[in-house]
Symmetry: C2
Subunit: 220 residues, 2 copies
DNA sequence: TTGTAAAGTGAGTAATCACTCGCTTTTTTC
DNA sequence: GAAAAAAGCGAGTGATTACTCACTTTACAA
């Protein structure tokens, strides 16, 4: 699968899969690169057109406004970020002991999210940046999280709390710590210190151990 | 101490304390508000002038360029973020058992940073946003961190590792987990879910317990 | 009080902005 | 293969941009 096919597939997530023209893909690639490097507001449509090798009018043929172009990039990220939780059988699998422990659940989650961030870093950068300034993006995110992630996550936490594997704190606190630890690792790894030579397998394992000990039942 | 005096003091950090004119303070206040709400690139100097109740020319009387204005806001944040580590006697105090444990050290740190973030949230938002797009800011940050924070932090970690309080992971991993946990909590608290009604004392204590258990010596 | 430097002003400037529109070229449909 | 639709083009639009500059007002030292 080529880079272009991969991008095409990701960006079409949700849409009826119409074929995208060559130039439309070029526009998206150029926009993603420039938005992630200079920021959305600081990137002009003429720059995007130049980098994409396309007339400026062509951009507005495909996207009514510059903001539409941003949303076309950001929306698929939104759904993919929480993708693991969207699978219909996801919570089921957890309860039916596909992952015998919270630890294995976390391990699968962190590995999965690691690959995702590694593959789509520029889009994720744009998403994180613009989240702060566009209330609709934040609202979409909030909606998806509340609707598709929070409830399932809460049930998983409760499940392993009852099994005695993790501590009896409020579920939202446990969820916060889990997400914070994973996201904190990924942001450090890919945004804060990307140039350091990481031993990813070791670091992921340390992170999992840290999280599991932090969440383990306290024994006196 | 009024809000204005407080702002004045913070923004003058480092400079020889020249008196700032009324209008200069107004400009800074307006710029901080707008930059944090709309972003640096999306805010025009004319908007800032209007909000500050000042002619546009007055902005450029005090700051040569719009970017100079940004740097005047962001630079003091940089030093204040790491302020606790800048104190000359800081590491000394830790070793001489002012904080008898890593836990107490962390507790003091998190409480201190909590107050700082709460007080200067808009400036911190601007700082975090623009860090991504201005290499000089990132370089300044890297420099201060490497020069003034990392070494002291590393010594503190080693100290408590030798005392057997915390686990014998590589110090940079322990530092990463500590910072990640604290920053993750503060970002969740003030940026991701600021509208939730937090019981801050409880949440801070849970966070400390999570961190300390995550970092504790594993006992078989 | 007067002289001077700093602070403040706002109309003006060239460049750039997101976006439009009449047109040509390419692709799809029957 | 002709007609229709979609994609692509680029000069042109009015609005806005960061910044300048000649000028006026204010602050303060001698």
């Amino acid at each position: 699968m080529t880079e272009q096919e991969l991008l095409r597939e990701l960006l079409q997530a949700g849409d009826e899969q119409e074929k995208m023209s060559e130039k439309k893909v070029k526009i998206l690639e150029a926009a993603i690169e420039m938005f992630s490097e200079k920021g959305y507001a600081a990137t002009s449509t003429s720059e995007i057109a130049r980098k994409a090798g396309v007339a400026e009018g062509t951009i507005f043929r495909h996207y009514k406004t510059k903001k539409d172009l941003l949303m076309a990039i950001v929306t698929p990220v939104l759904t993919r970020v929480v993708a693991p939780f969207l699978a219909r059988d996801f919570a089921q699998k957890v309860f039916e002991d596909d992952y015998q422990s919270y630890e294995n659940f976390i391990r699968a989650l962190i590995r999965n999210r690691f690959d995702f961030v590694k593959k789509h870093l520029p889009m994720i950068k744009i998403f994180l940046q613009e989240l702060a300034f566009h209330p609709e993006i934040k609202e979409q995110y909030r909606h998806i999280f509340v609707e598709h992630v929070y409830d399932k996550f809460r049930k998983i936490v409760s499940h392993f709390q009852q099994k005695g594997e993790i501590i009896e704190l409020p579920p939202e606190t446990v969820i916060r710590m889990t997400i914070t630890t994973i996201v904190g690792y990924l942001i450090t790894r890919f945004l804060v210190l990307p140039e350091r030579d990481w031993d990813d397998d070791v670091e992921i394992e340390h992170t999992i151990q840290f999280l599991m000990h932090g969440l383990s039942r306290r024994k006196e």
